[in-house]
């Protein structure tokens, strides 16, 4: 702050204030429900996941093969041209070992997360997913990985139809 100012406004509520309930706290819970249409591109992508396949879209102008697929190329700003089957193998672009869940609560078993650049898509086209069947200390950037799919009967047309990616070689 400016040295000309001597008094900074605001009153802190400390953790102790909260515990002792020294202030009025009005609680409210909001439980909305949504039902999303997945869109043209992602609906097809999810249908293919259900079949154990990963599909991308190609833009013939910039020649990029895009995954997740989109019906328009955001760079050329024109419709994309064709569906392209890509592989369920790829390379770990980066990874993390997460000790926290979505609400920052600590997890007993850490989640292994990675951006996996998929083979057959343009370089650097990665998706977010989990890693499995690997010791956290053995994960490396550049490691080749392959999707481990749910059983066909268990698949729902969701990103979680891929359980995780595992290292290709031991």
């Amino acid at each position: 702050m400016s040295q000309k100012i001597t008094n900074y406004p605001g009153h802190e509520i400390t953790h102790e204030d909260q515990k002792e309930r020294r202030y009025l706290d009005i609680e409210y819970k909001f439980v909305p429900r949504y039902s999303w249409a997945a869109g043209v591109a992602i609906s097809r992508f999810l249908d293919e996941l259900k079949e154990g396949r990963i599909i991308a879209r190609k833009c013939n102008q910039c020649e990029r093969i895009l995954v997740p697929p989109r019906m328009y190329c955001e760079q050329c700003y024109r419709p994309t041209d064709q569906w392209v089957q890509i592989k369920d193998t790829g390379t770990v672009n980066t990874f993390s070992i997460s000790h926290v869940g979505t609400d920052a609560r600590r997890l007993k078993t850490p989640i292994l997360v990675a951006v996996v650049d998929l083979d057959g898509a343009s370089p650097g086209m990665g998706i977010l997913h989990n890693l499995g069947e690997v010791e956290p200390s053995n994960i490396r950037i550049g490691m080749k990985v392959q999707a481990v799919w749910k059983q066909p009967s268990e698949r729902q047309g969701a990103i979680t139809d891929i359980r995780y990616f595992k290292p290709l070689e031991a």
């Binding site: 040295q3 406004p9 605001g10 993390s96 000790h99 920052a104 998706i127 977010l128």
Partner: protein, 386 residues
Amino acid sequence: MKRRVAIIGAGITLFRRRMLESPKELSFEASRMALDAAGLTLKDIQSVVSGSAPDAFDGVHMKGEYYLDGMGAIGKPHQRVYVGGGTGVFTPIGGWWNVASGMYDTCLCVAEEKMSPLHPHPQYAFWSIFDQILERPLGTTLLWIFSLEMRRYMHKYGIKEEEIAEVAVKNKGNAIDHPCAQLGAKITVDDVMNSEPICSPVKRLDVSPPSDGAAAVVLASERVAKKLTDEPVWLDGVGWTLDTTHWTNRDLAYPEYVEKAAKMAYKMAGIKNPRKEIDIAEPYDPFDYKELHHLEGLQLAGKGEAPKMTVDGVTQRDGDLPVCPSGGLLGVGNPIAAAGMMKICELFWQLRGEAGKRQVKKDARTGVAQAWGDLMQVGTVTVMRR
């Protein structure tokens, strides 16, 4: 024909994990301080630009309409800008449009954030910024994206965690001298390295805290500014760009959207060699590696070279390029939109030589503030001069 725009007053509240004041009250306090500093009252203000990040923190939808009266915006042209973490620096950019365009001669810019209402933790709000079909089912947290980016950055340039930790040590140390700071502390690199692993490689002391707080500035046209003060701080360059939400398709080692925003702001301010012409910087530092990442995007360090600059002491308050002399988000706190505005306030006070114990050693004439936000996609940049 665009007009020159000055900042003529700044105000800020305490930044704390949880504040008693409501969003309206926090906004009022910061605004009143900024108006007092400018020697104005609300009736002298012609327009208001406000900033606040996710509505999900407060559980108040369309917060811009809710907090409006605390922002001094009743019956005035008001706009809310909203680009996640980039909001705080985007707020004065929005004000700049109001004044530079010739529409108004005075504009109050206020940024407010209360993260504390959301339970059990404000982090939970970030779950819903991820793709609802392809990413949320994986159990995302915003910490993932930071740890993934930090790891990629370290990998690409061979950077060590210890080098990155130096930023946390510097910023938390600087914050000791900030009267509003939440987490000013003297810590060591070992403290950072030994802190709880949250989302490896991110550890607890690599991260800024959730906070409540508000900050504000008053903008004026050149004509009005010169009447009111002998020490205007000019908002000479503004820049902002966004990339797509397809963050997993992006080079995570380098923030291109920051580079584009910076180049836009530098061009407007006539800056050709940022490293030589910028005296002081307040890049966005919600995580320690982010300060380094952003220094590179701001063209103040070569790619992968910001860590060395930090280890060498260049970015200390008495260094050649003081960076986050305020204490940054890591030290002062991170009430999202207010944190970006805190950086604008800091440059205002630094450039006027009013920063007291935090005053940088060199004679700073030109500064740059920057904020970042959303899914690794927003860059907002301002160049300020005295």
